[in-house]
Symmetry: C2
Subunit: 136 residues, 2 copies
């Protein structure tokens, strides 16, 4: 699993806890333990989808754009990691019945697996993640 997904969750959770003021990529990166540029890359995806807003210049940063319960982990997964479940098989032997067909069979199975995972992730919103973080 790609860590862009968890970085996005981490960032959104942090933003959710300070809905009134902006957070810079540096503050977020210190919380998440990664480089600020990575945060900006991931958050630019989330911005593109309207989950957050950003502002450049002094006093700028990132801020939540929607209600906490409007964003599910599945939404975030689709943006940051869609297809990540799909294993990248090497090209197998076309002259073998198994080699020739396995790839598309597996593709179908993993497609179904991702959809199934979606059912699970849809049930978690950022609001719930925030509650879990606060409680613990």
């Amino acid at each position: 699993m790609n860590s862009d997904f968890t970085l996005a969750i981490h960032s959104l959770t942090l933003l959710a806890l300070q809905p009134d003021r902006m957070a810079t990529s540096e503050v977020i990166s210190e919380s998440a333990g990664v480089h600020p540029v990575r945060i900006r890359k991931v958050l630019s995806l989330l911005k593109k989808h309207g989950f957050i807003k950003s502002k450049e210049g002094t006093g700028g940063g990132f801020i939540f754009a929607l209600d906490l319960s409007e964003i599910s982990l599945w939404d975030i997964y689709k943006i940051t990691s869609e297809g990540a479940l799909q294993p990248k098989c090497p090209d197998s032997n076309e002259h073998c019945i198994v080699g020739a067909n396995m790839q598309k069979v597996l593709f179908g199975i993993f497609l179904g697996a991702e959809e199934h995972l979606g059912e699970y992730l849809r049930d978690y919103t950022i609001k719930e993640v925030v509650d879990l973080v606060k409680r613990k």
Copy 2:
């Protein structure tokens, strides 16, 4: 997703199609397009769990040990890739409420996700994969 999982599925499917005679790691590796040593490594795991038998020396190789419908993709996943869904987050900042708690919150969520995936993978046995490969 680790490709050991798909290699195991590939190998078992091939073995399932020739239940009467042994297949060498070289034959399997040619079908799957990887190095024979990798096949032997993956298959040694499957052997350890009793899914297949192996024989060394001339005329040796690997052969199915159970009924095709006794092995589900979930069984194989657990052997080859358990925990693969769990993203490896960097150590985050303990002085931040988000950084300090996010890791265990995410751990719990991904644990649940893997269990949920299990429900899906349990429904596919090697027999069904074989049928899909034959049909297509």
